[in-house]
Symmetry: C2
Subunit: 339 residues, 2 copies
DNA sequence: TTGTAAGCGTTATCAC
DNA sequence: GTGATAACGCTTACAA
């Protein structure tokens, strides 16, 4: 494995010159640089990762903490991961995936201290997120996918739920629906420590529905297909007037729809559904094809990566906090209200 | 950030003793070790990753090359990833995800040379896989999820398709089906360079069907929902006698079933379906619930990680080549044949 | 049972 | 515009 020293020797320069030729951190006589680059190509030289990290005190590695264990991780998370991985690798960074049950801050601390980790990306952000506080405290650069209650000064890429809800509800309103339900995401510790998205989803729907004179009822569900099925059954029993549903948790949404099928209900004839947390690539996976306010998860994650790397490299990036919306994509799960 | 030196000073020993206390690579007086461990805990000392990698010439990082870009990656791949990540982190290794279009061997070469990467896990293995050859050539430790035509001497975790097919076909046979189709996975370059799984799936079905006196027709499809829908339509047009389908590509299978729904066909009354490439966690995501020969992707990936790390650490592991099957799990997508 | 010291391949700070 | 050289924090012989 070729080292910098060997390149230097063959090019007839000193090792440090090789570095500068490669990084461009100081000016170099064009011919010398040319010669060096040639030898680099010949020897197939690649700087040694660990050596660079050790000497430079920085690491071209990002970690992404992701939720979900054996039980199942949502397609959305996958989309984030894919987007992040691709964006990172394009900029020469590696992405480490770290399974996070939120609890094991120690491990993250370990990673951070071990110097493996240049920065961290977090998903599933809660309004008051201990992980965020901890990492800020440790001065680990960080970007959130989602955002805390007060995200000032912290990088984030999140959705503008005001607008997402507006688009969905406007469409329901156009279709003539007056009584809708919204499938929200519950979790065991939900009440004490809700995710930002849950609170924003809820409040934005209530507000937008009110503006449109629409009655909106919340149906909470854990995010798995089975809970979604149960949520459906509960809705049919308790809220018979509902003709349209706005759904957040993606896995539960699938179960919800399957629950309707099982009961012989027809979507969209009997019930319209819009999903707001389904990426384009997932639309075809359900039947009927879901109408969605597209979640551009792939692009959002890529943006998050770029913000992060810019910060690491000191490149100014004015958009350190981004809100994305997503287009309303018409599928086959929505139809006009009929008395 | 505490260094080894500092720990040594406070514990009144030499730096190397700290290392040995931590790694157990040589015996140490219990009291000394005790004292050291205490200081380690106090200072929250964690060995520096890059320094260790540099000095030791090894890296506690594994890379997993995974297929699929923005377009969509299959739930199966996700399951593999999750299993691998968790298993790796349990053993103190980090897992780097590298998006691989098979083409960019250069990047992998770069990673390998940069020393970032202790070993590589590969998925979507082809019968003659250039990546495998290349990595073996570069002496990068490697484990396959899947296997090449001749995997002798190479670590792998794969499925025993003989047995998987047998279980599925036996069940169809019990149900009385005599004319089945199998949905196989095609790809653009399929014919020249098939994945191992595709060949084994095909040949094992043909063989097992013959034993049972069942007619089996192949329906190839790309692995995405849309192609699956088209495959369904094609099957209905050309092979009217088929009453049961054995499906490999997971995303296509979903599209295939949706195609049946759209045409008003009822599953399982009109058509039985068994999927052999769907992990347990995905069963609920389709409607009706799929009958499957379970793909224990999570566990398989974990096994692959453990094989890999054992090799890296010189721990003898007799099961460097594993074949998994998976249980037949009855869902609602299969029913007895009715004339 | 423990300590010493020579690297590992870079980066970055000096000089020249 | 270029060349030495001191870190960086650890692993691992080799001594003691």
């Amino acid at each position: 494995m070729a080292t910098r020293e060997e390149v230097a020797r063959r090019a007839g320069v000193s090792p440090s010159t090789v570095t500068y030729a490669l990084t461009g951190k100081r000016s170099i006589k064009p011919e010398t640089r040319e010669r060096i680059l040639q030898v680099v190509a010949e020897l197939n030289y690649v700087p040694h990762f660990a050596a660079g990290a050790l000497a430079g005190g920085r690491s071209k590695t990002l970690a992404m903490l992701f939720p979900g264990s054996a039980a199942g991780i949502s397609p959305v998370a996958l989309q984030y991961i894919t987007g992040a991985v691709n964006a990172a690798s394009e900029r020469g960074y590696a992405l480490i995936l770290w399974p996070g049950d939120n609890a094991d801050m120690n491990q993250i601390a370990t990673l951070a201290k071990s110097g493996l980790l240049g920065a961290v990306l977090l998903m599933e952000i809660h309004l008051r997120d201990k992980r965020v506080e901890y990492l800020l405290d440790q001065e680990v650069p960080l970007t959130m996918i989602g955002r805390t209650a007060d995200p000032s000064g912290i990088n984030y890429v999140d959705r503008d739920f005001e607008e997402v809800s507006k688009r969905a509800i406007d469409y329901f309103s156009e279709l003539g629906h007056k009584n809708i339900a919204f499938l929200s995401q519950a979790s065991e510790r939900q009440t004490k420590d809700p995710r930002g998205v849950d609170q924003r989803f809820q409040s934005s729907i209530i507000e937008n529905a009110k503006k449109r004179g629409i009655v909106a009822t919340e149906i909470p569900s854990l995010n798995d297909p089975n809970s979604g099925r149960i949520a459906y059954q509960l809705m049919r029993k308790r809220y018979k007037k509902v003709t349209a549903v706005l759904a957040l948790p993606d896995l539960a949404t699938i179960g919800f729809i399957n629950g309707a099928h099982e009961e012989g209900l027809s979507i969209p004839e009997d019930l319209s559904v819009i999903s707001v947390n389904t990426p384009k690539t997932q639309i075809n996976m359900s039947w009927p094809k879901l109408t969605t306010v597209d979640l551009p998860a792939y692009e959002m994650a890529a943006a998050a990566i770029n913000i992060t790397i810019d910060q690491l490299e000191g490149i100014p990036n004015p958009e350190k906090q981004q809100l994305w919306i997503g287009d309303l994509i018409l599928g086959d799960s929505t139809a006009p209200y009929k008395k």
